[in-house]
Symmetry: C2
DNA sequence: GGTTCAGCCTTACGGCGTAAGGCTGAACTG
DNA sequence: CAGTTCAGCCTTACGCCGTAAGGCTGAACC
C-alpha cells in the first residue's frame, strides 16, 4: 500500500518514483496479459491521473523502455566461477524463464531502441563470460548472436502457440485436424498426431535439445573463429 | 486493374475481394513501417468506408491472420530435388528475406493463433523435406523447432537494431559509447568498437554463420533421434 | 513575504476498433 | 411485370487510447 501516515491532508503526499511506476507497469502487464497497460490504467492503479505520469516520463515509450530493462534485470548474470558452457546454458534457461514470466516483453523489445542499464550490464557480462572461455571477439559475437536468436525465437514461438500443455494441445489440434483435408498436409498431421500422443512432451525439454546442439557447435568452432 | 472479367454473369459494381483487401493491407503496412494499418486508412486506400470492410471480415484479427498468411506464401517451399540440407538452407534464407521485407510480420505473428492455408502448406513441406532426408518424426520436430527459432530470433533482433549498415552503426554506437562510462561495460564497448571498425560486417553473413552451425549439428544428430 | 517550482489535475483533440442500423440497386420470385 | 430479398456500402455513435496545453497547490528558498 502507498498510504499516507494517517495524520493530515496537508503534508506532501508521497510522490511517485520512476521505480514504483515501472514496477507497477510490469505488474499490470503481467496481470492483464494483453501487453503494456494504458497510461490511464497505470495511473489509476497508482492513485493518480494519467497526465501526472508525464512529469516523470517524457512519453510512454520511455516507460516501455524501463519495463523491458526491468525484465532484463531479472535474468541471472553468467557466473564466472563456472565453465563458459555451463554458464551460457544457465543464462539461456534463466532468460527464457524471464521472457515467459513476462509474455509482453518480447513484443515490446522489437519496438524499443535505447537499451537500459540492466540490459547493457547483461550483454557485457555474457560477452565477458565468452571471452574468458576462450572466444575471440568475433567468436563471441557469433556465439551471442546465435544464442540470443535461439532464445528469442524459441520463446516467441512458445508464447504464440495457443496451448501450454499436451492436454491442451490435443484440444487445439483436434478441431484443426478435422477441419483440414487430412491428405493435403500429410506430414503436418502425422507430426501433430505423433506429438500429441506423447504425454511427456514439454517445451522445457525441447528448448534444451536445441540449446545443447548449439552449445556443442560453439564448443567445436570456438577456436576456429579469428 | 480490379475490373471484372467480361464474361461473368453477375457483374456487381466491382466489389472488394478478400484478396484485394489483404494485398492492400500488406502494401500499406510495408509503406508505413508502423505495423498494420488502421481500418480507416485501409478503407480509405480502397476507396471505401471503414465499416464496409466488416462485410468481408468478421473483425480486424482475421485481416491480420490473412496478412501473415500472405507473407508465408512468399517463402519458397523447399524443393524436393535437393538434399535436405541445401533445401533447408535455402528455405531459411528465403524466410528471413520475407520477414525483412515485411517488418511488421514478426510482431503480428505472436498475437495470431489460427494459421492460414499457406502457413500450413509451408510447414507441411518443410517437415516433408526433413522426413525425406532421413529424419524421424521426433527428429524433424527438433530440427523444425531449432531452425524456426533461429530464423525468427535472428530476424527479430535484426529488425530491432536501429541501423541497417555498418556506417549507421558507427553513428548509433558513437553517442552510446560516449554516454556510457567506458570502463563499466568493457567487453561490450570492446565488441562494438571492434565490429564497427570492420567495414565488411553484415547481417547476411552473420545469419549464415549461425545457420551453418545449426545445420552441421542437425546433420550430426540426424540418426541419433528416435 | 514574495518567488519559484515540483507535483498533480482538468480539459480537450484526434485517432482507434467496432456495434447498430440505414440506404441502394441488382437479382431473383411470382 | 411488380414485389421481395439481400449483398454491399454508408452513417452515426460509443468508449477506449496517447498526449498537448495550461491551471492549481503548497513546500522551499531568497
Amino acid at each position: 500500500m502507498t498510504t499516507q501516515p494517517a495524520g493530515t491532508p496537508a503534508p506532501r503526499r508521497n510522490p511517485l518514483s520512476k521505480e514504483l511506476v515501472l514496477r507497477t507497469a510490469v505488474t499490470l502487464a503481467d496481470e492483464a496479459g494483453t501487453g503494456a497497460p494504458s497510461m490511464r490504467r497505470l495511473a489509476e492503479r497508482l492513485g493518480v491521473e494519467s497526465m501526472s505520469l508525464y512529469h516523470h516520463f517524457r512519453n510512454k515509450d520511455v516507460i516501455l523502455d524501463g519495463m523491458v530493462d526491468l525484465v532484463f534485470a531479472e535474468i541471472e548474470l553468467p557466473s564466472d566461477d563456472v565453465e563458459w558452457r555451463a554458464a551460457m546454458r544457465q543464462r539461456a534457461v534463466s532468460m527464457r524463464g524471464a521472457l515467459i514470466r513476462h509474455p509482453w516483453a518480447i513484443s515490446l523489445m522489437d519496438s524499443r531502441s535505447s537499451p537500459g542499464h540492466a540490459t547493457l550490464r547483461h550483454h557485457d557480462a555474457v560477452i565477458g563470460c565468452l571471452r574468458s572461455g576462450g572466444f575471440s571477439i568475433a567468436g563471441a559475437a557469433h556465439a551471442l548472436s546465435l544464442l540470443d536468436s535461439y532464445i528469442y525465437g524459441f520463446t516467441l514461438q512458445e508464447l504464440s502457440l495457443p496451448f501450454r500443455s499436451p492436454v491442451e494441445l490435443e484440444d487445439v489440434a483436434g478441431p484443426i485436424l478435422e477441419q483440414i483435408p487430412r491428405d493435403k498436409f500429410p506430414h503436418l498431421t502425422e507430426m501433430i498426431v505423433d506429438r500429441a500422443l506423447k504425454p511427456g512432451y514439454a517445451y522445457t525439454e525441447e528448448f534444451g535439445i536445441g540449446l545443447d546442439l548449439i552449445l556443442d557447435g560453439l564448443q567445436r568452432q570456438r577456436e576456429s573463429w579469428p
